[in-house]
């Protein structure tokens, strides 16, 4: 391939007879500081002033650190109320660092030589002789080690090197348990009371206004969280309760899964698992603020817009003997994002 490449390229600039790059560098122009000693002196003073600011700011910083209480707020025009400590410490440190840098650059630009120098490039590729020598040295090494001669050593070495990474496989296994069917079940179970996510109080049907949306969790969540010390259960159980007039409900995921027009849907988006939040009481659309997947809660939680592919899972509810809303049973499908085994 290398043989056919060169003649296909035209007008290589180095070979160009009118090569304009040949005339050489343009004439160097002297700076003011090169010819006027007063200008040079002025530049020297400017650079030194910048360095003096750089040297003084840490001292100011020290006083600010000691004397500005970290909870003091000040009003700064355009910024608003802000932490006095952060504002003054940052201003002082920023100005100081900037001045050190500006001083060095000013020095370089005004007082250091500004004559451009030319340095030749050398071919990166080794010469043919160098290459030959390298190859022959390498071959001599291969020869003297017997790598070519001792077939058994060569093969067992390759085998051994290929096998050693396998030590890591069992060691990494305990990074986490196998998924099993954990993604299929939540804390919801027959008779588990639905409680408000905020007050943790159980809810009666009359607590849910028409058009309203209430975020809820199962009553047993608090105890489970206290026992496990993690948020795993909480990541799957959140639900929303909405109330519509029965004639507004066009479809549900199961017969009689509502209770007198009160519907309960998972709050976890079926796209990638954000909690949904925005509910439009007129259209009964529930919107996920992360990627705008929109679910129609009056129509079995179907996706009406956005990247989510699956309907929002519905939780079948009823009331218990005391008149509190409870789950009929767990979700009948996994909540949250889709996964390979979900089916």
């Amino acid at each position: 391939m290398s043989s056919d490449s060169h003649d296909l390229v035209s007008a290589d600039d180095a070979a160009h007879p009118e090569n304009p790059l040949a005339p050489g560098l343009p004439e160097h122009k002297l700076r003011r500081t090169d010819i006027d000693p007063r200008a040079a002196k002025r530049a020297e003073r400017q650079v030194s002033l910048l360095f003096v600011i750089g040297a003084l700011t840490p001292i100011i910083f020290f006083f600010e650190y000691v004397y500005i209480p970290s909870d003091k707020l000040i009003h700064v025009p355009l910024i608003g109320d802000t932490s006095a400590s952060n504002f003054f410490l940052g201003l002082t440190m920023g100005i100081g660092l900037f001045c050190v840098g500006a001083g060095a650059i000013h020095w370089a630009k005004k007082l250091m030589p500004d004559v451009e120098e030319v340095s030749e490039r050398h071919q990166l590729r080794g010469t043919d002789a160098e290459r030959e020598e390298a190859v022959s040295q390498f071959n001599a090494g291969v020869e003297s080690s017997g790598f070519g001669q001792y077939k058994m050593i060569r093969r067992t070495l390759i085998g051994a090197l290929a096998a050693t990474p396998l030590f890591a496989v069992p060691l990494l296994k305990d990074l986490g348990p196998l998924p099993g069917n954990k993604l299929r079940y939540t804390l919801w179970a027959p008779g588990v009371r639905i409680v408000s996510d905020v007050s943790l109080n159980p809810i009666k049907p009359e607590d849910i206004p028409f058009g309203g949306l209430v975020s809820c969790v199962p009553e047993n969540l608090a105890a489970v969280e206290a026992a496990t010390g993690n948020l795993n259960a909480r990541a799957k159980v959140p639900v929303v309760l909405v109330r519509m007039r029965p004639e507004e409900i066009r479809a549900q995921q199961g017969k009689n899964w509502d209770y007198q027009g009160i519907l309960c849907y998972s709050k976890i988006c079926t796209h990638v698992g954000c909690p949904t939040a925005l509910y439009d009481r007129k259209s009964h659309h529930l919107l996920c603020p992360c990627h705008q997947s929109t679910f129609d809660l009056s129509d079995a939680g179907h996706v009406v817009f956005g990247p989510a592919a699956r309907s929002m899972p519905q939780l079948a509810i009823t009331v218990n003997a005391d008149g509190y809303l409870v789950a009929q049973h767990d979700f009948t499908q996994p909540v949250g994002p889709s996964f390979w085994e979900r089916g």
Binding site: P20, L124, V272, P289
Partner: protein
């Protein structure tokens, strides 16, 4: 200046240098490298900004690590930030609040760290664009292009890991999305998710694991790659823009010592200083306002850091395609935008230098940079890809656009879904035309000179605009670069008159090469330049003759008008 200073500092420095040289022979290294020449151009500082922000990240990050507690153990908060008093939260979040309110200068360092991270990735991105559009990735710098690609990828991961650590509501939601993406990977998704999180999301293992990845693993690799990146720049010497005296065989610029030491060292302080000033006046990631992470809550209008915006946008714009068959689910709505599209983009970017070299057939070293107009197809590919990236990025802001401009989010999303297919090809075509026009103009300037704006009225009453030849510097700039022509991979019969077998990919290669170079503006040949010069000279003589003679000479039909060339 002429007499050497012999103050105590210089003496001590000399003694130290002597000590080191006797042990490691440092003078041999310095002798070769102190006067190493670096070319000067503002765009060469973009990579420097990335390097300096990385140093700022190491410094501020070390400070933060002294106070941050990477733990997901939940406990009610009782600190000086009253609004969160008594609220259960992870130690990670609580310690972030403490750094912000109880450690003096802690908030400043947090903001410096975050601003530096944004700057780091912005500088890498713009540096990458500079390298791409000027062809600095060409031989012998392909390996450094790959290292740079690796740095960008790791930088994005490192940034995401960093802003996930505080375990606030915003970052926790980001991790929930990441977990949803991992679960969407075919076959191994749930296993990978459980191994990453130590079980179900969110678990209590993840923040400590992410912490060590963020403070040791990724920065260690980044540091190693940056070292290799700089060593290659050092060894191969920097590229330079064409100009008088600048050839493929030399480097023109200022010496490392003292000029570049002062300029680059000073620039580090300038970058650091500006980052600190930003952190003083511009609040960033106020995690105390977001609250601790809980899987049940969300804030509307939440946005990731800028460099994640395009990925978030891809996730938002993708239609909801999911395949269910044989008891398995393939979530194309998640897989395509978050794995396949970034995978294709980054692979294509990494392979680009090799693709272009294949189409060009040019195996020589290139040390003079291209002016983007002189490589119209490359430039067009660059702007096309950039427009795709920007459209996805805008997609990540579709909710913000909808609320700010009171528009329908559905309409915005659908418009963008169409635009990501329509706009990039348009941008390609427009850029290519634009480059070709600019090249045509350059050619005109070389052959006919530039328009001086001086209008002359001839004795015959005719008006002409005086053209003047371009300066030597301009000429050098305009003439630099190669004119490539499509590869002709015709097989030539060997000595027995037998056609050799066609190489399997020759047809594709010829098509690619034609795609690149079939349409081109040739640089003027030496003969053309010579003739143009001659012609200009003749014209000048004919004008002079007219002016002096007061009547139109025979050659007046050659009088130039704007339309003639």
């Amino acid at each position: 200046m002429s007499t050497p200073q012999t103050g105590p500092i210089v003496k001590a420095g000399g003694a130290a240098a002597d000590y080191v040289d006797e042990r490691v022979g440092v003078s041999k290294f310095l002798k070769k490298n102190l006067t190493k020449v670096f070319p000067d151009h503002w765009s060469f500082m973009l990579g420097e900004i990335a390097l300096y922000s990385f140093i700022v990240l190491l410094l501020s990050g070390t400070f933060l690590s002294l106070f941050f507690k990477p733990s997901m153990t939940e406990a009610p908060y009782h600190g000086s930030y009253i609004p969160l008093n008594g609220i259960p939260m992870s130690e990670a979040y609580a310690s972030t609040i403490n750094i912000s309110f109880d450690i003096r200068g802690g908030l400043l360092m947090r903001q410096v760290h975050h601003w530096a991270a944004l700057l780091f990735l912005a500088a890498i991105t713009v540096h990458l664009l500079r390298v791409f559009f000027t062809g600095a990735f060409r031989k012998p710098r392909e390996m450094n292009w790959l290292i740079g690609n690796g740095l960008l990828t790791l930088g994005i991961l490192e940034g995401f890991a960093g802003y996930s650590l505080p375990d606030d509501l915003l970052s926790g939601t980001g991790l929930r999305i990441a977990d949803g993406i991992v679960q969407g990977i075919p076959v191994v998704g749930t296993y990978a998710s459980f191994m990453i999180f130590g079980g179900e999301f969110p678990g209590t293992d993840f923040i400590p694991r992410l912490y060590i990845v963020h403070v040791l693993l990724i920065p260690g690799i980044i540091l190693g790659l940056i070292t290799a990146h700089l060593m290659l720049v050092w060894y191969q010497k920097h590229t330079q823009f064409p100009g008088p005296g600048r050839t493929e065989g030399n480097v023109v610029g200022y010496p490392l010592f003292p000029v570049y030491t002062a300029k680059a060292g000073g620039f580090f302080f300038v970058v650091f200083g500006i980052t600190v000033l930003l952190s003083a006046v511009a609040s960033i990631n106020p995690v105390w306002l977001f609250g601790p992470y809980t899987p049940t809550e969300i804030t509307a209008g939440s946005q990731p850091d800028w460099y994640m915006g395009w990925l978030d946008g891809a996730l938002r714009l993708m239609p909801n395609v999911e395949i269910n068959a044989w008891g398995h689910t393939l979530s194309l709505n998640v897989l395509v935008p978050s794995v396949i599209i970034p995978g294709i983009l980054f692979t294509a970017m990494a392979l680009y230098p090799f693709l272009e070299q294949w189409a060009t057939g040019d195996k020589r070293e290139h040390h003079l940079l291209d002016r983007p107009r002189n490589m119209p197809t490359r430039t067009a590919i660059g702007t096309m890809s950039l427009s795709f990236y920007i459209l996805l990025w805008i997609g990540g802001d579709n909710d913000i656009i909808a609320t700010h401009f009171d528009m329908s989010i559905n309409a915005i999303t659908w418009t963008l879904r169409v635009m990501v297919f329509v706009v990039p090809p348009l941008v390609f075509v427009i850029t290519k035309r634009f480059c070709l026009s600019l090249q045509r103009r350059d050619r005109d300037k070389l052959l006919h000179g530039y328009e001086t704006g001086t209008i002359m009225r001839m004795p015959s009453g005719e008006y002409i605009e005086v053209h003047a030849p371009v300066s030597a510097e301009e000429r050098a700039k305009l003439l630099a670069g190669h004119t490539y022509r499509p590869l002709e991979l015709d097989r030539e019969p060997d000595e027995n008159g037998v056609l050799p077998k066609r190489k399997p990919l020759d047809a594709a290669r010829a098509r690619l090469s034609a795609f690149y170079y079939a349409e081109r503006i040739e640089k003027p040949t030496p003969e053309e330049l010579h003739e143009a010069e001659h012609h200009a000279h003749e014209l000048e003589e004919s004008y002079l003759a007219q002016i002096e003679g007061g009547s139109a000479p025979a050659g007046s039909e050659h009088a130039p008008t704007r339309s003639e060339h």
